[in-house]
Amino acid sequence: MELDIKFMIDTFFLALTGVPVTLSITAAALLISAPVAFFMAISKIYNIKILKQIITAYVSFIRGTPVVLQILIIYSLLPSLFNTIIRSAGWNINVFDINPIIYAYIVFSINTSASLSEIFRSALLTVNKGQLEAALSIGMSPVQAYTRIIIPQALVSAIPNICNLTINLVKGTSLAFMMTVKEVTAIAKIAASYGYNYIEAYLDILIVYIILCSLIQLLFSMLEKHFGSYRKLTGAAQKTV
């Protein structure tokens, strides 16, 4: 089996041009779903009647269906839906000119918000109830107590989970090529189709994702060390007195 090394190197750098697209989808999904997920987590924890049921159903549905399917459905449905709305509103925009990356933002935000809400919920539940009681007893309002005491502690314990989610999100964006979004996988595959150098292209895609995900893991590990410095170290890391 011969590998076209020149092709591999060229395609590698070509694939790198797709990294900003990949990262933008990841960042958009995280930023949009974070407040939504937080709201959903709080609603579930505080047992807000109807809201809790709706949210549970939503999370269950999103997590229970493959991303591939969500992408196919959204990509088939949404453009025609937008078209109908825009037509009836009388605007003169051509729906089919919309950059498909918008659809990618939508699909991945919906998907991420479901998983992220459960991550936030479990993180909030790990914080000792006494922290909230102490904050309230000293005269802080619930909002102050949450933003200054509870959430910082919850986020630190959620970092490994959020890292997991982010890596899966980055890898998941490789499916956006189905919506003709020019991210890493799409670019490499297109380059491969000229000379049928699929194996080289696939290896390149692999390498790009490994580098990307390793950098993300490094980033989160630094975040955990910095923000978790107030915590007690357990086990071997503790110096014996």
Binding site: Q131, S137, I138, M140, Q144, R148, I149, Q153, Y230
Partner: protein, 251 residues
């Protein structure tokens, strides 16, 4: 100054407080004694609405609330006049000792940072922890954490400090550390309501003892009365280990 009238509280179907009345005057050191499950902690937590009582009234200086209809504003007012010291310390884990003490001042009472820091440093030196200002709670011993919790309570200058078994989680040495701080506060005239099992503290420092069992106040009075000659049988039974032995006259 503070009065609780006819407080009732149930958890699910379990009635924990069955009509409790308590009066607190300025400068009082009130110790609430009683067996586990008697409702002492619940009563304390009802004062600053960590638990909301089902029935009853709370009168705090000029603030008169019915516990069922108390608004968030009323509760906030009461919480700003009180401070709570927990059995499990409950220091803010993500803040240093100094920040723990300034938090209530800066955030809840809008005290400017410089002034708050000064008050906090004074409070910490009062409990003997000036050298630990920048330590996180995870690096402090239990006794040190509880002393930071106490300085967090005194820094906001409350009308009354509520202590919920402050030394129950500490070994005898650390207990001594914390108790001597509390004795000092009592000497300075700080109003305190303390739930504790430390009988010697109750004897030496309290000026009023309230004995609770099964959700009601069984007996109350000054320490010398309660500890030498209690009237009720239940009180005698609870204190049997420390009451002076009754001479048995047999002819």
């Amino acid at each position: 100054m503070l009065e609780l009238i006819n407080i009732h509280k149930s958890f699910n179907n379990n009635e924990v407080l069955k009509g409790v009345n308590i009066k607190v005057k300025k400068g009082d050191v009130i110790v609430i004694l009683g067996p586990s499950g008697s409702g002492k902690t619940t009563l304390l937590r009802c004062i600053n609405f960590l638990e909301r009582a089902d029935k009853g009234e709370i009168i705090f200086d000029d603030l008169h609330v019915n516990v069922r209809t108390a608004s968030a504003a009323d509760i906030s007012k009461i919480r700003k006049k009180t401070a709570f010291v927990f059995q499990s310390f409950n220091l803010f884990n993500n803040k240093t000792a100094l920040e723990n003490v300034t938090e209530g001042l800066i955030v809840a009472r809008k005290v400017p940072k410089a002034e708050a820091t000064e008050i906090a440093k004074k409070a910490l030196s009062k409990v003997g922890l000036s050298d630990r200002e920048n330590y996180y709670p995870s690096k402090l011993s239990g006794g040190q954490q509880q002393r930071v919790a106490i300085s967090r309570a005194i820094a906001v200058n409350p009308d009354v400090i509520l202590f919920d078994e402050p030394t129950s989680a500490l070994d005898p040495e650390l207990t001594g550390e914390v108790l001597s701080v509390m004795k000092q506060l009592a000497r300075e005239g700080v109003t305190m309501v303390v739930v504790t099992h430390e009988m010697s503290f109750a004897r030496e420092v309290a000026n009023h003892i309230v004995f609770m069992a099964d959700g009601v106040v069984v007996e109350e009075g000054p320490p010398d009365e309660i500890f030498t000659n209690p009237r009720e049988e239940r009180t005698k039974q609870f204190l049997s280990r420390i009451l002076p032995p009754v001479d048995d006259y047999v002819i």
